[in-house]
């Protein structure tokens, strides 16, 4: 949660320095009950203990953010980011990375260690889910809290930019409603804990035979509805929406991983590598994960036995835990906010293939106005060298672009615009015949 402390050196663009320092300290101090709970000494139980542990730091973090942007003029607020304690790959940032990585490791592999923390959430868990809390409820709770607090920060920070405001409102809504409250409500109703905002292959179980038979066996048809929704989301909804809007409809408007990256991860977006070598690695790594999960899913349907179960287990460890959580979030302060989405997420891989070849979405360039400053590339969380296209006056049509719109926001010459065109065919040479272009790109990776 110390993400909210991310603060550059005092700058006159940033509200009131004295208040900021006070609220930063208060946020830090109010993390004490949380730290105590981690150490095995929760402040008590019941609603009061829950409030004492989680309310003060939420409040002070919000006040810190308010003090940061209070009285500032609406506009880009990137002063001192490259030198910031948390944002400049300095000691504080590295420590934060270590803490986040550690928390994820404990969560996945020694979740019981967190018992003294998650018991604090029992009252809420009983209210929402009609059962005691566990480490996953704690995780969902903190995750949602991070999205909401840092989402509020996005509202203040980008209040001059309606695209950012709508997009942030969307990820906050989907995280709170569809990834936190609705699954809890379903559990309370004795229904499967289903996430309507995650699809295969990001949530691979949804096409696994074992999960289907579980859903199918649910009384009342709710499970069957979920089963059909899961299939339709992967094979009908996704292609259609991506054709019209690009992968952004999901990655930076709906997805929970994207939601965290776009809110809590915003201070770190510039840390993604822009090197060509990183792009080459990305193309191999992300498509490898897609191939593996596709093969595993098919194998689960056609094969039986220990080998396939072992494969499923290892995919869960390697991809579900290490790559999406420990590396994906833990490395925010080192490699930027989209490590998982850029290098490993198989859903992003599929959406990316659609976006690159079968979509109307593109980022257009405003004639010859680019003067190569590099703000667009630097603040691209996906590490796209946006400038390389802008300098040539070319459209940016890249599989990895999540359409966050920050390149367009930070451009000081008004050069970039995210657009859904009237056709897919006018985006680049070869776009008229996407299938041929796709096949050609497979021959020359």
């Amino acid at each position: 949660m110390s993400v909210t402390l991310t603060g550059p050196a005092p700058s006159p663009h940033a509200g009131s320095a004295g208040l900021r320092t006070a609220f930063a300290v208060a946020t830090g101090v109010s993390l004490l009950p949380f730290a105590l709970a981690l150490a095995g000494h929760p402040v008590g139980s019941g609603w009061v203990a829950l409030a004492i542990t989680f309310a003060p730091f939420t409040l002070f973090a919000m006040l810190y953010i308010w003090a940061t942007y209070r009285g500032t003029h609406p506009g880009i607020k990137n002063d001192d980011i490259t030198r910031g304690h948390f944002t400049g790959r300095r000691t504080a940032g590295i420590l934060l990375g270590v803490v986040l990585t550690g928390l994820y490791t404990v969560l996945y592999f020694e979740g019981e260690w967190l018992r003294s923390v998650y018991v604090l959430l029992d009252p809420l868990s009983h209210l929402l889910r009609d059962r005691p809390a566990d480490q996953w409820f704690l995780y969902g709770f903190l995750y949602t809290l991070a999205v909401l607090i840092m989402g509020a920060r996005m509202f203040w920070r980008y209040r001059h930019n309606r695209y950012q405001m709508w997009r942030t409102a969307s990820v906050m809504f989907f995280q709170l409603g569809f990834a936190f409250l609705l699954p809890a409500f379903l559990l309370a109703m004795q229904q499967p804990e289903f996430y309507f905002t995650y699809f295969w292959p990001l949530k691979p179980d949804y096409l696994f035979p074992s999960y289907w038979s579980y859903l199918w066996s649910q009384p009342g048809g709710v499970g069957a509805f979920m089963l059909v929704f899961g299939v339709a989301a992967s094979f009908i909804l996704t292609p259609i929406l991506t054709f019209y809007f690009g992968k952004r409809w999901y990655c930076s408007w709906v997805c929970g991983c994207g939601g965290l990256a776009e809110t809590a991860g915003d201070p770190f977006r510039h840390l993604s590598s822009k090197k060509y070598a990183a792009w080459r690695f990305e193309r191999w790594s992300i498509h490898s994960v897609l191939v593996i999960i596709t093969a595993l899913t098919i194998w689960l349907w056609v094969g039986e036995g220990e080998a396939v179960q072992t494969g499923k287990k290892w995919y869960g460890y390697a991809v579900g835990m290490v790559l999406s959580g420990i590396v994906g979030v833990g490395f925010y302060p080192l490699l930027g906010s989209r490590v998982w989405c850029r290098f490993f997420c198989p859903m992003a891989a599929i959406l990316g293939i659609f976006q690159r070849f079968f979509s109307r979405f593109r980022i257009t360039t405003n004639g010859d106005q680019c003067m190569a400053c590099g703000n667009c590339s630097a603040y691209c969380e996906m590490g796209i060298d946006v400038r390389a296209y802008a300098m040539q006056g070319k459209n940016i049509v890249r599989a990895s672009c999540v359409g966050c719109g920050i390149c367009s926001a930070v451009c000081p010459r008004g050069v970039l615009k995210l657009e859904n065109g009237k056709t897919h065919a006018d985006r680049y040479d070869g776009a008229q015949n996407p299938l041929a272009t796709l096949l050609r790109s497979l021959k020359n990776p």
């Binding site: 550059p8 005092p10 700058s11 006159p12 663009h13 003029h73 609406p74 506009g75 880009i76 990137n78 002063d79 001192d80 980011i81 490259t82 030198r83 910031g84 001059h160 930019n161 309606r162 695209y163 405001m165 709508w166 510039h270 822009k274 090197k275 060509y276 405003n366 004639g367 010859d368 106005q369 003067m371 190569a372 400053c373 590099g374 703000n375 590339s377 630097a378 400038r387 390389a388 300098m391 719109g405 367009s408 926001a409 930070v410 000081p412 010459r413 008004g414 615009k417 995210l418 657009e419």
Partner: protein, 439 residues
Amino acid sequence: MFGRKKGGPGSDRHLVIIGNGIAGVTTARAVRARDKKCRITMVSGESLHFFSRPALMYIYMGHLTERDTRPFEDWFWKKARIERRQAWVKFIDVDAKRVDFADDSPSLEYDQLVIATGSKPNKFGWPGQDLARVQGMCSLQDLANLEAVTDQIEHGVVVGGGLIGVELAEMLHSRGKRVTLLAREKSYWNNALPEAEATLVGRVIRKGGIDLRLSTELDHIEDDGQGRACAVHTKDGERIACEFVGLTAGVSPNLSALEGSKIPTGRGVLCDLSLRTQVPDVYAAGDCVEFVTPEGQRNIVEQLWYTGEMHGEVLGRVLCGEEAAHDRGIWFNSAKFFDLEWHTYGEVPPSVGATPDLQTLYWQPEDADLAFRLVLRDGRLVGVNALGIRYRHKVCERWIADGLSAEQVLERLPEGNFDPEFFRRYEPAIVRSFREQLR
């Protein structure tokens, strides 16, 4: 294709480019695209790396690292076989076709030479202009010098009401300095902006926290007794105490590399429209060029990123034996004054309201820092000015090239908007206002 013409460029030639800014780099790349064989060497004393000069301000403000401002990674130059050398030029011997350097690095012999040395800040002989803590903001060295004295600055004075002036003011302000900005003009940058826009920009600069003093001229800079600036004195006799003075009263061609050489210069390196100097096999590109106009009009010096790029593209073709001449085309430019973006296309002379053969339509809401202007000659569009609303370059250019009437532009206005999705659209209000003005 080379070497066919007698005396034409051969593909085993050595092309030496002095300066690795946008003009030099564009020239090198344009030549390499046409001639895969020749040897190309780019020389710069400032930096081994090509970087975006307009981005210097973002390094200081902490938006970007120096590396972020480099458009190409190091492997690019290897792949393109463009050699780079960091060294200051001492002397150009056009008879021996040789460039000597100020340090020990060996001289370079060239077959063709390109001067792309850019600009340097203007200094108008103000007393004290060479003191410590007095500088312009053009180069990496300027940036390093500013960084070195930043801790000493509590109050900075920036002299000169142009684009670099407002950028330097914003830079200092972002680091917590109080800033006074002196401009000779009666409204901000009114030798480029019409009165209404100039007034709006001035207001935005003041809102940004800058103490903007209009109609104020620098008289001299005061020495603190240790060779450092400690105050400026204006022509009105006011003394403004400060620890830093930024001189941003425009730039002029940087000709220091040409000292003692036989390359003819005026304000800049004298060139024809194909960027040839008056010395065989010596060419120039970018800010340092002064075009000799055959009609005897005032010679032209262009000091923009965009023109540097255009020069480089033309020169690349010329160097490879093609016929090419610089044509500025329909003017365009852009800038950002604190949070206010500016796009301009075509002719928008500062005197537009008082120029009899021009008509103008202007919109500026009361509740927001925005403005939009159309300029027409004989009822046909010749210019567009947009502040706080992004407008499309190619669309405006086409409207101007096609000479649309005011009514035709108003019908098509939404096509020109380039603001992000979900942004408030001002076109209905603009159209309403313009229709009233037309009546």
